[in-house]
């Protein structure tokens, strides 16, 4: 091999090695911020630990005396393997391990030590082939160019296009690639050729597989979507339940959509229940459709005149969780254990269709109409089933997405209720974690009168705030829409269009 080509190859290795090294550091920092939150702390400590570990690696490099080239290749393979799989391992271990931080910093240290070994080893391989000042100048030039490249492409290209998991596999593959090229070019100078070749190929296959199947790995680990620490994750027959926690609040997500934050859910649930129920002093029998978290039931139980609450929720796991888990049951004040409350796990549409008993107050608290399946629960047919279940003097209230973000969706629900004969009273409230949120009350005949009395201890709803709630300023004013029917599902189309602008 001609010396020129030899030098170029090794210097190119420096460049790749430097890029990869910085990428692993960025991957670890990003992941830690995603998973643990508080990105300043995470990045700062990760960078510190990483640099320190590189120092340890550099210090260790003096103990390598013979077979430098072989050792270099060996270390390249190890760096590729550990760095390449790091994001997957970290994601996976996050849900499995108690002391995630320990694992995280161990990984960072290990990668750091190996990366720290690389440059000193390379410099020593090259030491007899360059003048010292040339050597230092060249190696560090390439090292820093690699670092610049990594820090620019990581946020601009890699994270948006490859995603964090593919990025680490990709750079793992580059490390192995360097190992293989050096191995083949210098095959005569390598002592453990066979062994290294085998290792390199096995690692190559492993990383390739990871790169190809990254999407599946990702679906395991959607944790990135959640800014706070995940304290509970479960896939039930119907949905993916995630609960996250930080110092201030607990958040529940169903299929990635925020259902409530413990910090302000009282606003949402007070607004859901009291404008209707406080206007029905003689109400006895209440039906809740959806609302498997028990928070609406908690509000309903504030009325001593109510002697029976029937809650129909599809997902048994959800209602059991909010009955048994003490942290969650504290949130709903153990409402599901109250003898007045009966929980039925059934499909709401099918249940409503097949029942005839009448209720004085009905709460309809379903997820937003983001797909055709849920869209059916906002159709005129469904509201006709509700009409059948509502006593002549009763009130039904529907959670109706945001009248600010999705005015057509909101007013479509209003119009659909009217189309089956309800008089409606739309209203809205500001819930900090959701934004401006809307509800529609429907009633068969009487005009709605603002209630005179509310249960004691409410934090948001009273006669004064309710006056504001039923007032719609111009930016949320009524817009003309069609009626949502099973055979047109216009609401799902409105909802998709309107929310798409916000996502």
């Amino acid at each position: 091999m001609r010396p020129n080509r030899f030098h170029l190859l090794l210097l190119f290795s420096v460049f790749v090695v430097a890029t990869c090294g910085l990428i692993y550091e960025l991957v670890a920092g990003t992941l830690a911020s995603y998973l643990l939150g508080d990105s300043v702390t995470q990045f700062s400590t990760i960078i510190g630990v990483y640099l320190f570990s590189m120092g340890i690696g550099s210090w260790f490099s003096k103990y390598f005396d013979k077979n430098l080239l072989s050792w270099f290749i060996q270390i390249e393979i190890l760096v590729g393997l550990i760095g390449g799989t790091s994001s997957t391992l970290l994601f996976f271990l996050f849900e499995q391990t108690e002391s995630f931080r320990l694992v995280l910093y161990m990984m960072v240290m290990l990668t750091g030590i190996f990366v720290g070994l690389e440059i000193p080893l390379l410099m020593r391989i090259l030491e007899n082939r360059f003048e010292f000042k040339e050597l230092v100048s060249k190696v560090f030039t390439f090292d820093y160019i690699g670092a610049l490249l990594a820090s620019v492409i990581f946020p601009l290209l890699l994270i948006p296009h490859l995603g964090i998991i593919r990025t680490s596999y990709f750079f793992g593959l580059l490390n192995i690639g360097v190992a293989l090229v050096v191995l083949i070019q210098f095959s005569k100078e390598i002592n453990w050729f066979k062994r290294l070749q085998f290792q390199a190929f096995v690692s190559l296959l492993l990383l390739l597989a990871g790169f190809v199947y990254a999407d599946r790995i990702m679906s395991f680990t959607e944790s990135m979507a959640y800014p706070d620490k995940i304290i509970y994750a479960k896939t039930t027959h119907y949905q993916r339940i995630i609960i996250t926690k930080n110092q201030r609040e607990l958040r529940l997500f169903l299929n990635g959509n925020l259902q409530f934050s413990s910090a302000d859910e009282y606003r949402y649930h007070e607004a859901l229940v009291h404008p209707g129920l406080a206007a029905l002093p003689y109400a006895k029998n209440v039906l809740v459709l959806g609302g498997g978290d028990g928070l609406a039931v908690r509000e309903i139980l504030k009325y001593p005149n109510i002697n029976r609450i029937t809650l129909v929720d599809l997902d048994k796991e959800m209602t059991s969780m909010f009955t048994q888990n003490s942290m969650l049951a504290n949130l709903n004040k153990h409402s599901f254990s109250n003898p007045k409350v009966k929980v039925i796990n059934a499909d709401a549409f099918t249940w409503a269709k097949s029942h005839t008993a009448q209720f004085d107050f009905i709460v309809v608290d379903f997820p937003d109409p983001s797909n055709f399946s849920i869209g059916k629960l906002y159709s005129n047919r469904f509201y006709q089933e509700i009409e059948k279940l509502l006593s002549p003097e009763g009130i039904v209230v529907i959670q109706s997405t945001s009248p600010y973000v999705a005015p057509k969706s909101f007013w479509c629900i209003d119009k659909t209720l009217q189309s089956v004969g309800f008089n409606t009273v739309p209203y809205h409230v500001y819930v900090p974690s959701f934004g401006e949120w809307g509800y529609v009350m429907g009633m068969k005949k009487h005009d709605y009168q603002l209630p005179a009395n509310f249960p004691a201890g409410l934090k948001y709803v009273n006669r004064e705030s309710l006056k504001q709630m039923i007032y719609f300023p111009a930016d949320m004013a009524k817009v003309p829409t069609e009626v949502n029917k099973l055979n047109n599902q216009v609401l799902v189309h409105y909802f998709e269009d309107e929310w798409a602008k916000y996502l």
Binding site: A348, F372, L486, N488
Partner: protein, 563 residues
């Protein structure tokens, strides 16, 4: 696929054919099928071995009874009755309903299978009911009073708007989203190809539908619509009925329609409604598909559909329940003879293995012509073999597929009707689409494959030669194109072969002599109703056939065969 037909086995395949030529063609077809079976069958074990199911219909044994008349005992008893209806498909059931509406009680309907409905049949498992044949009814023309009154009495129409337009039960109107097409690697909304078409092709497609709009409102010199449902109400103006003499493809060539995507779509439409290809379908029938539907409603638009998880078996059940006391299932008619004052029908019961004679004043044959040909071989009439030979029937394969998950694919999500561009099949229908409950992952997909390509007789033979494994391979291979990885999610595939799935409106048939001859009552004693006497196999035709035949049977006027 919509329409009706009770008998499904090939009748006397080898007779009256150019034997040598037929054997040669059949030989080629069968060799291909068997060789295909050997080559591909072996591979099934690997990817599709987990799939359970079987060929569960149609029941070939009963059909063959009629053909071979083996082991049928001599009739020992005689039953007397005013009217007898043979065949429990939609035509026969509609006729029975009509008799009942006229206040007649002395009548009976016999059906060879263990259930009525014909090819509006259904199956059911723990996930859903599903169709084994016809699966929808487009909202009808509000002036079609007999269908409108039927739909009203069964709760499918819940009322009428002030303008007099029917209000449909919205649980029966096909839910949104309705249709999608897999083309260029993704699913587009609607079945008419749109994605990635050139401006030229789009313009041509627009021009085609404009032309169809013209035919939709066109009337003949007799003042009738050129294309109507029921078909017999169409104008007989030669300007229009001459279109029956040429094939649809000839018509399209003459009108300079050349867009590959338009022609694919029209061929799909012919396969879907008639079981025949563009060159096997008459231009009149092809246009009828697009120009005859004049449905209107207060809460639906023209072209909207009524459908149920079990398809038109739901409608068949509504008809059946109105006349249930008059129905005998498992009863095969194997001979009809006409006396001076009565008609004698020999009937074999496939459960107690006894035969009897039913002596009726008049008999209505709501059966296809290849069955009538056998039943009437002792009866003198003008019908010759050449009349029967004009009737051609498309064989179909239907698969009901249980899946526990549908792989994610590009484009819009699962619809009611899902069609794949350039697939041999006409796609699949999600049988769970009309469920109101929240989506469960398990679903039943009803997959429809009209067996076109070779002449129907050969296709039929090939179809009955194929093994269950062959069919599973065919289905999976087709679905894998649009749903890579779906095979592993399939739990069961059940197969139904309709040997005579539906009558095919070949050029010259609908307005031809054979159909007219076969419709003529015999001596005011034997009457006929079947979609093959319309020439297109849809619910509306069967329904009107049955009512018209029942009316003419009970009419006090004497018939002399020229009605």
């Amino acid at each position: 696929m919509s329409g009706q037909n009770t008998y499904n086995q090939s009748a006397n395949l080898l007779s009256r054919l150019n034997r040598k030529a037929f054997l040669l063609r059949a030989g080629i077809g069968l060799t291909a099928a068997i060789a295909g079976g050997y080559l591909f069958n072996r591979k099934r074990s690997a990817k599709t071995a987990h799939i359970k199911g079987s060929i569960i219909g149609a029941n070939a044994k009963i059909g063959h009874l009629l053909r071979d008349k083996l082991s049928i005992p001599e009739p020992s008893t005689t039953e007397e009755i005013e009217y007898l209806i043979i065949g429990g498909g939609i035509s026969g059931l509609a006729a029975a309903r009509e008799l009942k509406r006229q206040g007649i009680s002395s009548f009976k309907l016999i059906e060879l299978d263990n259930h009525t409905g014909g090819n509006s049949s259904k199956g059911k498992n723990e996930i859903s009911a599903y169709p084994w044949g016809a699966h929808y009814l487009p909202i009808p023309d509000p002036s079609d009073s007999s269908i409108i009154s039927f739909l009203t009495e069964i709760g499918c129409i819940t009322g009428f708007s002030p303008e007099g337009l029917p209000i449909y039960n919205e649980y029966h109107l096909c839910f949104d989203p309705e249709e999608r097409l897999y083309i260029r690697g993704q699913w587009q909304e609607g079945l008419i190809p749109n994605l990635g078409l050139s401006l030229e092709e789009r313009t041509e497609i627009e021009r085609f539908f404009k032309l169809m709009e013209y035919y939709k409102t066109a009337k003949g010199i007799d003042g009738k619509y050129a294309f109507a449902i029921p078909l017999k109400d169409s104008s007989s103006d030669p300007t229009f009925i001459n279109l029956d003499k040429i094939s649809f493809i000839t018509f399209l060539e003459k009108e300079k329609f050349r867009s590959k995507h338009l022609l694919w779509y029209l061929n799909y439409a012919c396969k879907d409604d008639f079981g025949s290809t563009l060159n096997e379908t008459s231009a009149w029938a092809g246009i009828h598909y697009f120009a005859s539907r004049k449905g209107k409603a207060a809460n639906a638009k023209n072209g909207d559909l009524l459908t149920w998880p079990e398809g038109n078996a739901w409608l068949a059940e509504q008809l059946r329940s109105q006349v249930a006391d008059h129905i005998s299932v498992n009863s095969v008619a194997f001979n009809v003879s006409v006396n001076n004052d009565s008609v004698l029908t020999s009937v074999y019961n496939t459960v107690d293995h006894k035969s009897k004679i039913i002596k009726a004043r008049k008999v209505l044959l709501a059966t296809p012509q290849f069955v009538n040909q056998r039943l009437l071989h002792e009866v003198n009439s003008d019908r010759s073999t050449s009349v029967y030979e004009q009737f051609s029937y498309a064989p179909w394969m239907i698969a009901n597929i249980t899946i526990h998950q549908l792989p994610v694919s590009k484009g819009i999500g699962l619809c009611w009707d899902n069609v794949m561009f350039e697939s041999d099949s006409v796609g699949y229908v999600n049988a769970c689409h009309q469920h109101v409950n929240q989506n469960e992952n398990k679903k039943i997909l009803t997959y429809y494959l009209p067996l076109t390509g070779k002449e129907p007789k050969i296709q039929r033979l090939v179809a009955f030669t194929r093994s269950y494994n062959d069919w599973v391979d065919i289905v999976c291979k087709d679905l894998e194109n649009s749903h890579p990885g779906i095979t592993e999610f399939i739990e069961t595939v059940d197969i139904w072969i309709w040997g005579h799935g539906m009558v095919r409106p070949n050029p010259g048939f609908i307005w031809g002599e054979a159909k007219r001859m076969a419709s003529q009552p015999i001596n005011d004693k034997v009457f006929f109703a079947h979609t093959d006497l319309s020439g297109i196999s849809i619910f509306e035709e069967a329904f009107h056939q049955g009512i018209a035949a029942a009316k003419s049977m009970t009419s006090t006027e004497t018939h002399n065969g020229n009605s």
